[in-house]
Point group: C2
Chain length 421, copies 2
């Protein structure tokens, strides 16, 4: 008998019919002889609708009250799900974040889990019941207040429960069949990945892959939780996200997957005096704006002028405030101009096998060159190579690289249309 | 400085605009120098919508999960209300039933309040904040489960808080101007009552008046809480519901108000052997069906036959099951026939002054006789006289009696159209 944690997102429980379908899926897992704990999100767009309602009442809702408001969403979905399971003849009990022992810090709206004490969950399991837990929400002990975990919080709830309960696997149900070598909406010949390491998954998620939230994968990696990403619309095996221990001889492909990202802009600071400390000075200014800087590239200084350029990428919507901050310090830093480019695309190649293989960059650059695609920036980690190209050549680049690294499937992927959240 | 508890029902907080209007009303009370605690219902029809959703999922929702589901409604309204107040520059904190210390028995769906420990409410007041409490919900300590109080539960929440906090007054905001001598939709010349005793209010509510729930008035009477029923759409004084102590010389009108009720049916058991124990036998059968018997009348036995008839009234929807129960025991009881009449109307005259005044019945019967209205049944309590007439003469009867007892106002009442809940 295994202990399985299952997470169902909002689109899986959007209405009464979906809730009944999910209940059947849970009951099937129970019938197969497993203990089951479920983390569930609010129904459909409930959370967004509640946020809209709050903004109708006041432009700046109080974070504590916002958490009180938003945490009502999962109470609705979890109680309905428990009712549906009970009506199928199986015992089920729903639990709020607090009842489930999801203890967080006091940071309303983006609380971090500091401990999980799932006493009532264990009791429910001991009684033979299926435990349904409200995703996305927790409880701060010092303030006795209800908190929420922020976007993707339900994935984190599921992984944290799996870690605390020592579950055999944490299944993340979504509306796609698993993790793909590349978003099938961009590259139709994308292949579903059977097994991926959490490390690779993290790099893909950080590079724009949307199926899993970085935070949940990080949590899973840190606590050694095995994830399975699978569709709530069929019984396919999905993708297993594993945490190989050091010394495990897992055969790792050179390239496991590719992610693309059109959400970033590039800022270039032109004509910076090439003296020590300038980069630190610049990124201290940027850091003050709370911008999430991604790639940074510094050109080699032209010896004749003693000036250099620095480019970096960041989320498009953060560009204006950073430009403004830099402009106000232009005299002090001493650069000559600022350039802003929001028509860039980022492509990332991820594979744990890169560690042991050289020549990956060369092959990547060649594939792009052969297809007439210019590279604007390059950045690498141990298991990832990212390049920035023009936005309008990104899809072509992705298809070319997907083929060049032998990732193409023999037939076009059939995936359920949806948001992939 | 007074401590005022205010209760706002679903129709008062139906949307963002209404919530802002209610917030302003609360802030005005605070500005006037009072401490304010608010009990609030779920927005508009939220509770009914959640019940419908549950029935889409399963025909017999588990009561524990139903409470988990329904208790989400007030979390939404209370947090939005707290946000709205804060946006007006006043401190406000919302509290769930549990956080407010609303301790109940474990009876899901119709829990009774067993204790109120409003520690966090007092803290909030001490900090100068307005406390917003979820109506309708509580918490059972033994099971650590969330409960709901049943229909009208938010009124009960407000009264229980007022009692526990020793509030000066508990204001029940509704969509009518207060308690009327008679439903103004039936008798346009109905007059708003300025002061009524809780005892009279109870008799009116039990006789069909819809403005306050019996349970909340009972609670207020038992704990000596003064209620004020007033409109959330204007600043009129409304109706004060008081608890005069014995010996208080309150001048009490002979008739304070009139209630009518079309929701009952009459069952007559014909030809019952007039021997001791028959009535007990019959009402034991009726009690087993859980029917709510209201008036009972037994005819004088006709000496010649040794047979008698018994009539009683009960809610229309309970008539069939009671008839069935009686039929199945016909042989044993020995009656000759059953009659069922669902075209009856009940009219009740209520007034604490009846205690000290005779001749009220005579005046009532005369007024009805003068208007050609037949009386079918009569029942009296210390401060009430009820009669059953034909349903189609009930409104005429109400107007005639209203005039006869000098209750008519000089002009037609202007009341806000609405449900009066």
């Amino acid at each position: 008998m295994s202990l399985i944690v299952q997470k169902f997102g909002g689109s899986s429980v959007a209405d009464a019919e979906s809730i009944k379908r999910v209940a059947k899926r849970i009951v099937d897992t129970r019938k197969a002889g497993n203990d089951v704990v479920v983390a569930v999100s609010a129904m459909g767009d409930t959370t967004d609708e509640l946020i809209d309602l709050a903004h109708e009442v006041t432009p700046l809702p109080e974070p504590r009250e916002m958490d009180m408001l938003l945490s009502s969403g999962e109470r609705i979905s979890m109680s309905l799900l428990a009712m549906a399971i009970k009506s199928m003849g199986y015992e089920a009990r729903s639990f709020t974040g607090m009842q489930a022992g999801m203890i967080t810090d006091a940071h309303h709206g983006a609380a971090r889990i500091v401990d999980v004490t799932p006493v009532r969950i264990r009791e429910a399991l001991d009684d033979g019941a299926i435990a349904i837990v409200a995703g996305f929400q927790g409880f701060n002990v010092d303030t006795a207040e209800i908190t929420t975990l922020g976007r993707g919080g339900s994935d984190t709830t599921a992984v944290a429960l799996a870690a605390a309960l020592g579950a055999d696997v944490c299944e993340i149900y979504t509306d796609v069949d698993g993790i793909y070598t590349m978003d099938p909406r961009v590259v139709p010949l994308a292949r579903k990945i059977d097994v991926i390491t959490a490390e690779e998954m993290l790099e893909l998620a950080a590079s724009g892959a949307k199926v899993l939230y970085i935070r949940a994968v990080e949590f899973a990696r840190r606590h050694g939780v095995t994830l399975r990403v699978r569709s709530s619309f069929n019984s396919n095996e999905g993708t297993l996200v594993i945490n190989p221990k050091e010394g495990d001889t897992v055969e790792q492909p050179i390239v496991t997957g590719i992610a693309t990202d059109l959400s970033e802009a590039k800022i270039t600071i032109v004509g910076i005096p090439d003296v020590p400390g300038k980069a630190a000075q610049i990124f201290k200014i940027v850091a003050k704006t709370d911008a999430n800087v991604d790639m940074i590239v510094q050109n080699v200084s032209a010896a004749a002028t003693g000036l250099t350029d620095i480019s970096f990428t960041l989320p498009k919507e953060q560009a204006q405030i950073v430009l403004q901050a830099l402009r106000s310090e232009q005299e002090d830093v001493g650069f000559t101009a600022l350039q802003h480019d929001d028509q860039i695309g980022k492509l990332a190649l991820v594979g744990a096998g890169m560690r042991a293989n050289s020549g990956v960059s060369a092959k990547l650059f060649e594939a792009l060159y052969d297809n007439g695609i210019n590279i604007d920036m390059i950045s690498t980690s141990e298991i990832r190579i990212s390049v920035v190209t023009r936005a309008d050549t990104l899809e072509k680049a992705a298809r070319a690289v997907h083929t060049a690294f032998g990732l193409d499937a023999e037939s076009v992927a059939i995936v359920h249309a949806g948001t992939g959240r």
